[in-house]
Amino acid sequence: MCETCGCGEPSAFRITKSGHEEHAGNGHEHTHPHSHDEGHAHDHNHDHEHPHESEGRGKRILMIEKDILHENDLMAQRNRGYFEAKKVCCINMVSSPGSGKTTILEKTIAAFKGMRPVYVIEGDQQSMLDADRLAKLGIQAVQINTGSGCHLDANMVNRALKSLDPAPGALLFIENVGNLVCPALFDLGETSRVLVMSVTEGEDKPLKYPAMFRSAHLCLINKTDLLPYVDFRVDVAEKSAGDVNPSLQFLRISATTGDGLPAWYEWISSMINSAGL
């Protein structure tokens, strides 16, 4: 059964390097076993039991006070530490399907690959299509097929990183599964989260999917070349998104015509600088 939607077959994600044999993942391992050789103790069992007399003999209350996404968040922090140590700038691109993420990446990769090593982790339910499409640009791309799962989690990204082994100082893009719901909750350890919204979608999307808009740093409004043909008021969309996330930044672009892309490249460069990467 899909870990996320409850639909379909057992979820086993697959990580495949473009141009390589695929490696099957053994499903979501949410326990993330890891060795403690580094000498750090993970014993969070600090005697939080509060036995209540009234509960009767043998009964006790364990105070857990732990986030449900705790395991994912721990792994995300490991990824984040890895990125910091290797000075890798990681951008998690999220959007609904068909917003133009892959086209944006094609243009962006072409712009940056002369300056820094560029890598892509592609997340899709099925197929190698996107990873193969981006690998044609002469960069390394790894595809995570989530099966019927509808988001990437920090564990999948961690495993993909081991396969990709990005060079120090790299620019790494994660193209998340096209979905505005689930990816919002899963921190991958990224340096920055960029949400792509296209003008062919409803301008009320920020109000329908507030969690995703709240979790993003930048909102790219794509396909602006189509504005004359669609009923989409950019200022209304930006206002709605700003209400949900007052610190969200906006850039209007058209990946097809190249309009606004220099500002996006500039945003990436300044983000790399301000993160000290």
């Binding site: 009964k59 857990i64 006070e65 689930c182 919002a184 909750l185 209400d243 949900v244 007052p246």
Partner: protein
């Protein structure tokens, strides 16, 4: 609809906490879900028994704490109730500078037998 993923994570975390604490049967688990967390508390409550099937939590009672959204207005320096993630300060119309509560998604406690 990612509630099943979360339900499975809850069960896994609860089982591991019970083991760590050498607990016997788990009578009740208390889960807090904020109204702004992006998770539907009703859907989560509905799928939990399925996630708990054939685990130590199969017969565990679930107590859901639904926490209402509360934001902080940077202009008025006061807290206000947030029905939605985009609810603005009712006095001045400024969007919440910080969400004070409503984003919770956690296991609070478990009542266990020895």
């Amino acid at each position: 609809m990612h509630e099943l993923t979360l339900a499975l994570a809850i069960v896994e975390m609860a089982v591991s906490e019970a083991e760590k604490n050498h607990a016997g049967p788990i009578g009740e688990i208390e889960i807090e879900v904020g109204s702004l967390s992006g998770v539907d508390a009703d859907a989560l409550e509905f799928v939990l028994p399925f996630a708990a099937m054939n685990t130590r939590l199969e017969r565990t009672a679930v107590k859901m704490i639904r926490t209402e959204g509360k934001g902080w207005c940077p202009r008025c320096d006061r807290a206000f109730a947030m029905a939605e993630a985009w609810t603005q300060c009712p006095l001045c119309g400024t969007p919440a500078g910080k969400i004070l509560s409503g984003e919770e998604l956690r296991i609070v406690s478990m009542m266990v037998n020895d």
